[in-house]
């Protein structure tokens, strides 16, 4: 194993200097997710402007305890989502999920995923996929709640 295949520079950069970290006001929904195996946690807030699919994501803020992968992934998530419509963001989220489930077989679409393409290497390590997805699941859950759809968590 090349350590670098998992820990690409982009990931290490986001880990060392996370973007949009810290919980902010105002927000429409806040969720708290846990990775039961390692105890990693994320609290995540979403602020929307508008309703349904067309709503615009005006802020995503978070506080997280976890490994470099989960921290970097939260940072990348916020970069990607803030400013998008819910519809656009959901598409990105689906793309990221497919990438993480691809076991390194999928050629990620950099147009859509931007920095998140760096996680392609992580998808080869099943034990770490949950780390990468933790904040994304939390975001999906929070967004569903903000839209008034109740529990959007698919676990």
């Amino acid at each position: 194993m090349q350590l670098q295949s998992m820990y690409q520079e982009i990931i290490l950069d986001h880990y060392r200097n996370p973007h949009h970290k810290g919980l902010r006001e105002p927000y429409d929904a806040e969720v708290h997710h846990v990775n039961p195996t390692c105890g990693d946690e994320v609290t995540l807030r979403v602020r929307l402007d508008g309703a349904d699919d067309g709503a615009r994501i005006t802020d995503v803020s978070y506080d997280a305890m976890g490994c470099s992968i989960s921290q970097a992934s939260a940072s990348v998530l916020t970069d990607l989502m803030i400013g998008k419509t819910v519809k656009e963001a959901m598409a990105i989220s689906e793309e990221f999920r497919s990438l993480m489930q691809s076991r390194g077989e999928l050629q990620p679409d950099e147009e859509v995923l931007e920095d998140a393409v760096a996680f392609a290497g992580v998808s080869k390590y099943p034990a770490r996929i949950k780390c990468a997805l933790l904040s994304w699941m939390a975001w999906k859950d929070a967004t569903a709640r903000a839209l008034g759809h109740g529990d959007g968590d698919e676990r």
Partner: protein, 426 residues
């Protein structure tokens, strides 16, 4: 028929051995436990020799491989029983644990949150089982009734060994909370009309729990299609290892079913005072699971799927017809359960008269057979109430599986006649 029993027999190393004084083994006790093909033995060996680690918990390569073996088995089992959602598949140590899991989790509903309301049972509520159940589908419900004050009721069995559905409307009522029954009887071979009973039960809002221990090894089973809520089976009767069973449950129900065994990775977050629990299936899998056994079960599923359950069934039906015919010709032999092959599996239990009106005890029958290398089971086969229903304490049971042959059945019948000679009036 493309089914080649000789080729299949070669897959089972134990069938090459001899017993007692050098007699070839004739194994007619598969309803008790099946033999294992080399493929299953190898899968377990390979797991321990190359991939062993604990699962879910490890970030190293062995941990990944072990997790893949275990979770891969779950996906394989899900497909095998007709569900696409592998999180509906819970691994247990055997089907007995699976049935207890449902009964205890229902008991725990009393002190769980309102989401578990659906599972609560108490005084005035009724649990319905049948008289042909294995003890593993009787005692857990007796214990649940005892803990909660609910009432246990049961279907009777007709003289020809079928479920007596005449009183179904009296039995399954608004008071019924759960109906638990075998898909196939381990004594009579009877295949029960599960779909029909499930429809009645659902009409009154009761849960339906099915004991598929004797069905899954012998026929294609589709749990969705059966329309039941919980369905269990056990690997060791399916060419698989000991130490592992399966409980399938509908996702919506598993989501709200309270936990049973506590510990290990079934949790979400643990504080000293209290815990929250993981989503299914992990909520129901406490402690280190039978991992090597899951690898073995996956190999067993591959094996029987490879042979084809339809082919197995056709072969067994041929054997069964032959056996029922040959046994009908033995004077004083009484088969318990249906005498025709329709809706009937390959467990053939019988009593034997010595010709002097005195019954030859199953222990004695089986001992004579054993002396010839023929392995059958004697006793009540964990279905004492069913035996009492037929006025007896015990029976001799021959049970067939994919590796058996017509010749073996002829040896069985020869042995039965010998027993009659040895103990009988003749």
């Amino acid at each position: 028929m493309s089914f080649d029993v000789d080729r299949i027999r070669k897959d089972f190393p134990i069938l090459a051995r001899t017993v007692r004084e050098d007699r070839p083994l004739i194994y007619l006790d598969s309803a008790n436990t099946s033999q294992k093909p080399q493929q299953v033995i190898d899968a377990i060996d390979d797991y321990y020799s190359r991939h062993n680690a604990n699962i879910h918990r490890a970030t190293h390569q062995l941990g990944e491989e072990a997790t893949e073996a275990y979770e891969g088995a779950r996906i394989k089992v899900a497909g095998f029983i007709g569900t696409r959602d592998e999180s509906e598949v819970i691994f247990t140590k055997n089907i007995s644990e699976g049935l207890n899991l449902v009964a205890y989790a229902m008991g725990n509903a009393a002190t769980s949150g309102p989401e578990a309301e659906r599972f609560r049972v108490g005084p005035g509520d009724e649990i319905v089982i049948t008289e042909m159940e294995h003890h593993s589908n009787i005692v857990p419900w007796q214990l649940l009734a005892q803990r909660t004050g609910a009432t246990l009721r049961w279907f009777g069995v007709t003289d020809d060994g079928r479920l007596d559905l005449d009183r179904i409307d009296e039995l399954i009522t608004e008071r019924t909370k759960v109906v638990a029954l075998a898909h196939q009887s381990n004594v009579l071979g009877t295949i029960n009309p599960v779909r029909e009973v499930a429809a009645k039960a659902h009409a009154v809002g009761a849960l339906v729990v099915v004991d598929g221990a004797q069905a899954v090894p012998h026929m294609p089973v589709d749990v969705q299609d059966l329309g039941v809520d919980f369905y269990g089976f056990t690997a060791h009767k399916l060419c698989g290892p000991t130490g592992i069973g399966v409980l399938w449950g509908r996702r919506e129900l598993l989501e709200i079913l309270p936990p049973f065994l506590g510990g290990g990775e079934m949790i979400e977050t643990v504080w000293m005072e209290r815990s929250t629990y993981a989503p299914p299936p992990h909520r129901f899998e406490a402690g280190t699971m039978p991992i090597a056994e899951a690898a073995g079960l996956a190999a067993a599923v591959d094996y029987v799927t490879g042979v084809g359950l339809d082919a197995v069934r056709a072969h067994e039906r041929d054997l069964l017809g032959h056996a029922l015919e040959a046994m009908a010709e033995v004077p004083g032999l009484r088969v318990l359960g249906p005498l025709e092959t329709a809706n009937r599996g390959t467990a053939i239990s019988f009593t034997l008269d010595g010709g002097d009106g005195r019954e030859i005890h199953p222990h004695d029958v089986s001992q004579v057979l054993d002396a010839d290398g023929v392995a059958v089971r004697a006793g009540h086969h964990c279905a004492r109430p069913l035996h009492r229903r037929f006025g007896i304490n015990a029976s001799t049971r021959a049970s067939l599986y994919l590796y058996n042959t017509r010749d073996e059945i002829d040896a069985l019948v020869d042995g039965i006649r010998q027993a009659q000679k040895f103990f009988g009036a003749a």
